[in-house]
Amino acid sequence: MILTGAAIAAAHAAGEITIEPFDPMRLSPNAYDWRLGETLHACDGALDAARPTVVTEIPLGASGFVLRPGVLYLGDTYEKTRSERYAQLLNGNRTIGSLGIWVHVSAPLGHQGHAIRWTLEIRAARPVRVYPRMTFGKLTFLHTLGAAASYQQHGLKYATSHGVETSRLYEELPGGRP
């Protein structure tokens, strides 16, 4: 079951969902409309799952920045979100999708208990100019079945991200050996 906008507002008021900053105007019928952050990291080289990623940092100014096809950009959400009670799914909205922008690379799930500004994995189908703090997508909240486990107790990698974080998969693959 997916929370409605009113249910998200009630859960926020009850302290079961944290969204910082929270703006009630950003509640939509069954989501919270999140914004793009203020920094992108671009990667136009070759990558290796067993090595750290080399990126170039791009501060987003008021005039925006043109995303290019074929380049991997890591960005972040302007909002930091957390819920110990609900699981979260982050996606783009239809406006962003209609501009040919992916906001994640087949990884929409936010586990119960993470407390993060989400790292976005951005790809563009066509050259497209984007701007800091523009509305970028929808965050939905899901009811769960079963005893809760928290990301905070799992010792997982991105439990408290404060901004764009590159992949730390290499920590699991020393010398390319799982």
Partner: protein, 179 residues
Amino acid sequence: MILTGPEIALAAGDGRLRISPFDQAQVNPNSYNVRLGSTLLVYAEDILDAHRPNPTRHVEISREGHVLEPGQLYLGHTVERVGSDTFVPLLFGRSSVGRLGLFVEITAPIGDIGFHGQWTLMLSPIRPLRVYAGMKIGQIMFFVAVGPITPYAGKYQSADGPQASAYWRDLVPAPRAAS
């Protein structure tokens, strides 16, 4: 409703879902991490035809890994056999893999109740990316279903290794032209 990690572990124990092999260390708060198998399938011809079997070639990922190239589609598979006769499974990438620019599915995250087998991964990278057999690549989550269940009996049942598209198997043979 999405299952919590503790509920996934319970359900794997009592048979409401099956994950083989199962390792508690791969349980997340709302998902289970699955690993990349060692075999990739690559379509051998430039243009695919939805109505015909498309020739493929096998690639075995070596100990040094294998570089996936942008613009190419690789069909991979999970090491684990995963399925449920009760819950709806969804497979997505892990965020660690997404951050490397690798799609692990292409607009088809939702599995069928009653499918049991290795999942085919649709691997397509944004940048060249070296991957390794056995790396934890995706996450399967489970959703509660509402309504009577008719379990999956489709063409990919009990899949072993990556499966190329078998759309052609569903085609009704075209009527022969009258002579």
